[in-house]
Amino acid sequence: MTRFPENFEASLNAAAPHGVNLTTTTDDHGVSVMWCELADRDDLSAVGECLRSYHARLAMVTANKPPAPEEEEEEQDEEDEGAAEAEAHVPEQSMSFGGTPQDGTSYELVYHFDVGGDYVNVVAFLPAGGSIASLTPLFRSADWPEREIMEIYSVTITNHPDPRRLFLDESIDGAVLDRLIPFSQMANASTSDELWARVMAAAKEA
């Protein structure tokens, strides 16, 4: 028994015509957490609209780039079970709900909503280079989280009313969590006499 309103799941299903995968857990205190995976990220706005009608509060947005699943060692299989079956295993690509390949290049965005004390986590999957519609027109509190996601990942959020940088300066290349940055460069600690030369040059001019 959850505290979610009657027909809550049905409305979520109706809002997402491409399909949703709902799982709900309720703890000993009677507090529920629902995970709502979207088959198609284009349904996000409609689901957001639906949650808004239940006075949901958008509390947090998490972006994540799941690593590619490790390749399983199939040596034993081949020995034990015959070649035909092993072949059937190999080309299988791990997919998210809705069919976004989980190969280490795709993203998942989790929108965490509070609905009267219970939590609804809407999960949208994005392939590499994919984009997703902004929730900021519906939820003002999506503004900062979406701007933050745009600057730390190569994720495009369309229709954001104010897509400026939030924490990182314009002079820094974006998608910092998608790139390997040498520590010395990141800490700006590389040793050179460039700064000294500039100081001396400035002193001469003065």
Binding site: H29, N64, P67, H112, R140, S141
Partner: protein, 366 residues
């Protein structure tokens, strides 16, 4: 005679380093005369990439790391992280540990709220009251030091329970400290309720209407001072809060004063909760002795930090390091509310209004 009429607006910078701000945040304020027209926030001055770092540390190491994200809410971070991990691993937390977790959280709440209202007195220019409030807070600081060995980062939690137990001596000391604190906090509440200097500078200042508060999604005392009755401890009870006398004060003044009064009233309530915890504290273990195994999975956990709802999202895989650890601190949505609070405000009130959301910048930017 010279014409002194102010015809145009000016833009003035407040911050990133400013005498009235304890941490760096940059406000670009457009003023017309003494009145603020618009405010633009520029953040990122203490962005440290802790979220990335968290994915390079084991869960155990993250218990230490997350406690250092913020000083005033320090206790709530490892608490929420432990709760998320325990949800994934279906780890049962012993009842005594659940009480001890509440105790650590409520002691931190008293100290945090007293610090904020103390700073308010300082910004109002009432230095004697500021020093008095800090002196009262000192009792809470000493209490933390006596029980946990630290004045700020308590290190109270571990995965599956708590690290520090309380013996009879600690319990007796806490009771006597609470007896000392309570009349002082009540006296402070009375002063903030009646003192002319406080009232003149805080009532009707920094208005955040109920509708705007809902739109911004604000949490904690900022939300409750704008008529939103939301406290994680009652809306989504955790630990043993459903057995404790949690009072959720709500005011509809929507101003700086209401926020301060909510904090003082919560500090009084926390003392009451602490007393009940000490009375009810059951015997038993405080953790299961080892580090619990956390299987792959994902979970969300929430606690009511002094500044409001703190949310943790944890996703684990087969590695000891989390695949993703994300948190949203209460200050994060509350910043946005400042654009409403500062609209039409006087330049002289900027610091008072900013302080009223009890901002934490190292929390926000991580």
């Amino acid at each position: 005679m010279t014409d002194h009429t102010v015809a145009c607006s000016y833009k003035i910078p407040v911050g990133p380093l400013h005498v009235a701000l304890e941490e760096p945040m940059y406000f670009r304020v457009a003023v017309k005369g003494e009145t603020i027209e618009t405010v633009e926030l520029n953040a990122g001055h203490v962005h440290r990439g802790v979220e990335y770092l968290a994915t390079k540390r084991t869960l155990l190491q993250n218990m230490i790391l997350t406690e250092r994200i913020c000083s005033l809410c320090s206790n709530s971070h490892p608490e929420a992280l432990a709760m998320a991990a325990e949800t994934i691993g279906a780890v049962e937390v012993p009842e005594r540990a659940q009480y001890l977790r509440v105790i650590a959280g409520e002691v931190k709440r008293v100290a945090s709220h007293l610090f904020n209202v103390g700073i308010l007195a300082h910004l109002v220019g009432y230095e004697a009251l500021f020093m008095h409030a800090m002196q009262v807070r000192e009792v809470a600081q000493d209490l933390k030091e006596a029980v946990y060995g630290n004045r700020m980062d308590l290190g109270a939690h571990c995965l599956g329970g708590t690290r520090c137990d309380m013996d009879d001596e600690a319990i007796t000391y806490m009771r006597s400290a609470l007896d000392k604190l309570e009349p002082d906090v009540r006296e402070l509440e009375k002063t903030y309720r009646t003192n002319g200097s406080i009232l003149r500078r805080t009532r009707g200042i920094g208005i955040l209407s109920h509708a705007d508060a809902i739109a911004c999604g604000v949490v904690g005392p900022v939300a409750r001072a704008s008529g939103i009755q939301y406290d994680v401890r009652t809306a989504a009870p955790y630990h043993v809060y459903d057995r404790l006398p949690v009072n959720v004060p709500v005011l509809d003044g929507c101003d700086v004063w209401s926020r301060a009064m909510i904090r003082l009233s919560e500090a009084v309530n926390s003392i009451e909760i602490l007393r009940v915890c000490l009375d009810q504290l059951p015997e038993g273990p405080i953790n299961d002795g080892g580090d619990p195994y956390i299987p792959p999975g994902q979970a969300i956990a929430r606690t009511e930090a002094p500044r409001g709802e703190l949310v943790y999202y944890l996703k684990t895989n087969d590695n000891p390091e989390p695949e993703r650890l994300k948190w949203r601190v209460p200050s994060y949505p509350n910043w946005d509310a400042l654009t409403f609070m500062l609209k039409e405000a006087k330049v002289a009130d900027i610091a008072i209004i900013v302080n009223s959301i009890d901002p934490c910048i190292s929390c926000t930017e991580r």
